[in-house]
Symmetry: C2
Subunit: 294 residues, 2 copies
């Protein structure tokens, strides 16, 4: 499903709209993104030279910036367009990071901060074909997501917990980690949303279960609706996950990825399922359609 599209021109990095040359650009050691994770990011897919669902990514970002009281840089769209044009590649991923900018030591947000914007156009990651043929092995993370965090629902830079869960999963021989929330509900994976299929119904953890409101997640719910498949955002337990007929993950970079083993136990028949395949091909068609301007 993913076509790796390495290019000698990638990565291409813009810092505050300026193209960096000879390296990947630099930011101040006092940038509050670096010192305090005081910023947000979006990861987007470029297909056919077009960013898939750019408006939704920028709208989610704007909402988060408003919560953090970081000014929304008005140049974002033109910088992104410039980055994609300068990269000159059809297939890529974009990491857009916006932080509060540099400031003196301490938590207090400086009144005169100027946001730092880093746009990195990267090759699409090349996931091993085995992921799609055999499915991912997932481990339930030992730590929990917090639906009552101040930053719940925001795509902040704070991915330390995800990194720790990913490392824990790797040590256990798994490919991915799935988090429960502090109430014991299923939440999400380290950087993907979670879906299960139970008796023909798609279920994904509600955002009240500390699941990020993913752009691909929303597209999958939309596609299920079009296909007449019931899809529900709701809380469900790890027992529902383990008893599901199918499990899959969604993200801008990964698309739709099947999970066939959780904590060593096979899901459904232990092979990627039919609903996942149907959604994955509908998702690919959606990306192609929207990015061709059709």
């Amino acid at each position: 499903m993913m076509v790796p599209a390495a290019s000698p021109s990638l990565p291409l990095v813009l810092v505050n709209g300026q193209l960096t040359v000879g390296g990947f650009g630099e930011i101040s050691t006092r940038d509050r993104g670096f010192t305090l994770a005081d910023g947000l990011f979006e990861t987007m897919r470029v297909h056919g030279g077009v960013v898939f669902r750019l408006d939704r990514h920028l709208s989610r970002l704007s909402g988060g910036l408003r919560t953090l009281d970081i000014p929304d840089p008005p140049e974002l769209r033109s910088w992104l367009a410039g980055a994609v044009a300068q990269a000159g590649v059809a297939e890529a991923s974009i990491r857009l990071t916006v932080t509060r900018g540099a400031g003196p030591a301490g938590l207090t947000p400086p009144a005169d901060a100027h946001p730092t914007v880093v746009i990195a156009v990267n090759p699409m990651p090349a996931f091993p074909a085995a992921v799609y043929e055999q499915g991912l092995k997932a481990k339930i993370a030992s730590g929990r997501r917090n639906p009552r965090a101040m930053s719940a629902g925001l795509k902040t830079i704070s991915y330390t917990d995800s990194i720790l869960a990913w490392m824990e999963a790797q040590r256990a021989g798994a490919d991915e980690a799935i988090f429960l929330d502090t109430d014991g509900h299923c939440s999400e994976a380290t950087a993907s949303n979670l879906f299960i299929v139970s008796r023909g119904t798609l279920r994904t953890p509600s955002v009240t279960c500390a699941a990020l409101p993913g752009i691909t997640r929303a597209a999958v719910i939309e596609l299920a609706g079009r296909a007449g498949l019931p899809a529900r955002e709701e809380a469900f337990a790890v027992e529902d996950l383990l008893a599901a007929d199918e499990v899959f993950l969604t993200s801008s970079l990964r698309g739709i990825a099947p999970v066939t083993v959780v904590d060593g136990r096979p899901i459904g028949g232990g092979t990627p399922g039919q609903v996942m395949r149907q959604i994955a091909s509908a998702y690919l068609a959606l990306v192609q359609q929207e990015c061709s301007g059709a």
Copy 2:
């Protein structure tokens, strides 16, 4: 209690042991501290040109780096000593940041990453005298700390929640925020540990309540012991906080700071208490004694 010691030589910043000139130094936009909060930090107090309890700070840092599987840079001590010597000031604060270093896009920790070490010697923050005379007004944060986070107990870069709680407190006319944990126990402030005094007994939230194992917190427990004051690390509720005779916060930069109002309600007599004053002067004496090598 805090003597602001501004100096024209501060801030002084070292990046991987190299003194930066004309600015505060730069790091790569691909540094995983900046992209994913994949790193830790320590904030330390310099008194009389000596870092207070350096060994404990470095030991806590080493433990955290081990958990994150980031190599512990062997040059830390010599770089820190060099930074303090080059700053040439008696009073200062140090922010030591260690991240996994630069890497390509994605969560996967690169096998060949080299940690990034930023040492910033800053002036001691000048807290308004009113903080110590009248005490701080605190607000209970609307969001909760998570004792079951993968990174619980680690001093990671992820301070987004603290920033949001601090801003929320400011909007409510308060100076500081106090977090509860997801189980409803008192936890800590935005960048300080929490103590209450109830009928002559000091109580501070246990680390199982998502409280960071603070260096000043440990010193206060030690000083209470020496003074024959009972001191307990344990879970307690917001009702205990509101009914306390005294409330105070502890951190390397702030020392011991009284809280006299929580959510608009006065604590004890509504003025800084005697136990806090006794601990604060014992703490100051401890800093002076240990930093003079006595």
